[in-house]
């Protein structure tokens, strides 16, 4: 928490002086400088407080409730600390975790979600890398236009774009219609509510998240390096593998994490397009919460997803911070 006496060390010379003032002789400093320091604290303090209240503390509550016991009441869980003759008595229950680890339903959908997210990430990478590469190599005017085409779907309703695939993939949908007319199949193929439609939906929704960081990386590469590699006799493929690919690893990492992390807990796409016999973990969380009203188990599921995602999220922050600190980010349509 940024406290009120946070030492502020601005990098530039004139401000470093003010900061010295502030630390050593705040009492002697004029009211103008004091106001200046207070303003700086507010700038960082207000958003930090907001996020602490609405982002950090909620996770602690989820953690707390995952260790409580469901009961028929409003809210439907027993408080962790009961008061007995004026003394606090902790009531920590592991029942929700016991349920999660003993019922194979949970474990199976947990593993299924990881697999779906991983495969979707690989497909996004395979599709997104050449796309980002082609945009980065296009001429100036084309580049802006192509980037806009990539970003545009991102601004339109996610839900409606997923919904569009129902119309394309259902048995009397457009794709089956085309297949039948071409004579490739004689009966409609079941495409909806399969792994296939699930992957289509996820890749479709998250592809821009893969392309944009890859583009931001590839666009900065110095073409002279490739020319040098060619002059030294490297074939295009070798040059790509030994020069371009290693340089683009940060972009690959950022894009993959941006797809993988939200895909694990995806709820809307599997509900609309996915299988009915194998549901993903995000759906389990929602069903436990809304249909079974089992808040402790729902919280336990949330904690297990978070445990899985903690490492990727920390990795993503490292990659992004390095990119943001290393070079000025040009405004890619933003």
């Amino acid at each position: 928490m940024p406290s009120s006496e946070a030492p502020l060390r601005p990098p530039s010379e004139p401000r470093a002086k003010t900061a010295l003032f502030a630390r050593g002789a705040l009492g002697r400093a004029g009211p103008r400088i004091q106001r200046f320091i207070r303003a700086r604290q507010l700038i960082a303090g207000i958003p930090s407080l907001w996020l602490a209240l609405f982002f950090l503390i909620p996770f602690l509550i989820v953690l707390e409730i995952s260790f409580s016991e469901p009961r028929l009441a409003i809210p439907p869980y027993a408080p962790l600390i009961a008061w007995l003759h004026g003394w606090p008595v902790p009531h920590i229950h592991l029942s929700s975790y016991a349920e999660l680890f003993t019922d194979p339903l949970y474990l199976r959908s947990y593993l299924y979600s990881i697999m779906v997210a991983a495969v979707s990430t690989l497909i996004c990478l395979g599709l997104g890398y050449p796309m980002a590469y082609a945009i980065a190599r296009a001429g100036e005017a084309w580049r802006t236009f192509l980037l806009m085409l990539i970003i545009l779907p991102f601004w339109t309703s996610f839900l409606l774009r997923v919904y569009a695939w129902i119309g394309l993939l259902q048995n009397d949908g457009l794709i089956n219609d085309v297949l039948l007319r071409l004579g490739l199949v004689h009966h409609p193929v079941t495409l909806l509510q399969t792994d296939f439609s699930l992957y289509i939906g996820i890749v479709y929704s998250y592809l821009p998240f893969m392309i944009l960081p890859l583009y931001a990386n590839l666009e900065k590469h110095d073409p002279a390096l490739l020319e040098a590699a060619a002059d030294l006799g490297a074939r295009p493929l070798t040059a790509f593998l030994r020069v371009t690919l290693p340089q683009s690893l940060p972009g690959i990492a950022a894009g993959s994490l941006l797809v993988f992390i939200p895909a694990v807990g995806e709820y809307v796409i599997p509900t609309l397009l996915g299988r009915t016999d194998q549901i993903m973990i995000g759906r389990i969380l929602s069903d436990e919460f809304f249909d079974n009203r089992n808040w402790p188990v729902a919280s336990g599921v949330a904690i297990l997803i978070l445990l899985l995602l903690v490492v990727p999220i920390v990795l993503l922050q490292r990659v992004e911070r390095r990119q943001l600190d290393a070079q000025p980010v040009e405004e890619a349509g933003a």
């Binding site: 989820v62 409606l160 119309g167 949330a302 405004e331």
Partner: protein, 282 residues
């Protein structure tokens, strides 16, 4: 080199087709007379029938109105908070709590929505028990939840915009005797104005579009537009949703095109001004 260029360009074209065919199919079928989405009723199409159905659906209109109000509020507050956070991260140098602020502004962007939704609802329930506020779930709780995840996006937009400028202009103003507040209003804010606007629009879109988090914190009485759409499409395809999609896509598309053109125009003008200034100095 040639072969690879051809390969990546082919994938680019196919990928764009993949991205746009579903959107185009919704637009085309929104003018179809038939209730069956896939049967093109050539005799009676194109028709605006489904637009009429949509615009006389009270449930949809109520939900859209709620979504607009929530999105306006959420976008405005989150833009203010996100601009503060982005400025703090890009301009204040190291301060205590900086890494925490970075973590709290990047994590919400990737956090699976079911987790954000659940945790926010549990917070509201706990708050209501402890201090009696907020009273029940509704527009207020949806707005608070939206502000929290939208401001993370705004922060990133502002921060990367500020990272693209060095501080020399602000320092020059300071050296000439401008107070920090004046520096912010006269130098920093005009510089990041396009990013502030982009952040506001992004926040508005995200709030307008959010389904999962709203579903958790909405309570029984209030439904946002995505919630109504979701309950409609869970039952199968309905043509009036195509009409709605077409309306939304056209609004968004024209907005983004106008914004992009305007921003490029500003950018060009700024570059020209700077060139002129440089030339004048010579």
């Amino acid at each position: 080199m040639r072969a690879k260029g051809v390969f990546s360009r082919t994938v680019l074209v196919l990928g764009l087709v993949f991205l746009y065919v579903p959107i185009l199919s919704m637009i085309v079928y929104s003018f179809n007379n038939s209730r069956l989405v896939t049967v093109w009723d050539g005799a009676h199409s194109p028709t605006l029938k489904w637009y009429g159905v949509l615009l006389s659906d009270g449930e949809v209109l109520d939900a859209a109105w709620l979504s607009v109000r929530v999105a306006l509020c959420a976008a405005t507050v989150s833009t203010i908070l996100g601009t503060l956070a982005g400025t703090a991260l890009a301009r204040l140098g190291p301060f205590r709590g900086r890494s925490l602020l970075i973590g709290m502004t990047t994590a919400p962007i990737v956090m699976p929505e079911v987790i954000s939704g659940l945790s926010l609802l549990l917070l509201f329930v706990a708050l209501e028990q402890a201090i009696g506020w907020p009273r029940g779930m509704g527009a207020l709780t949806i707005t608070l939840a939206h502000i929290s995840f939208c401001m993370a996006y705004v922060t990133v937009v502002i921060q990367s915009r500020l990272a693209g400028f060095d501080e020399s202009l602000e320092e020059a103003a300071q050296d000439l005797g401008a107070r920090p507040a004046k520096v912010f209003w006269r130098i920093t804010l005009p510089l990041i104005l396009p990013a502030v606007l982009a952040g506001w629009l992004l926040a508005f879109t995200l709030s307008w579009d959010d389904l999962v988090i709203s579903q958790f914190v909405a309570g029984p009485g209030s439904s946002t537009l995505p919630m109504v759409i979701f309950s409609k499409v869970r039952l199968g395809v309905s043509p009036d949703v195509n009409a709605l999609a077409t309306l939304m896509v056209s609004v968004v598309a024209s907005g983004v095109v106008v914004a992009t053109v305007w921003m490029r125009h500003r950018q060009k003008r700024r570059e020209r001004d700077m060139q002129l200034a440089a030339a004048a100095n010579l």
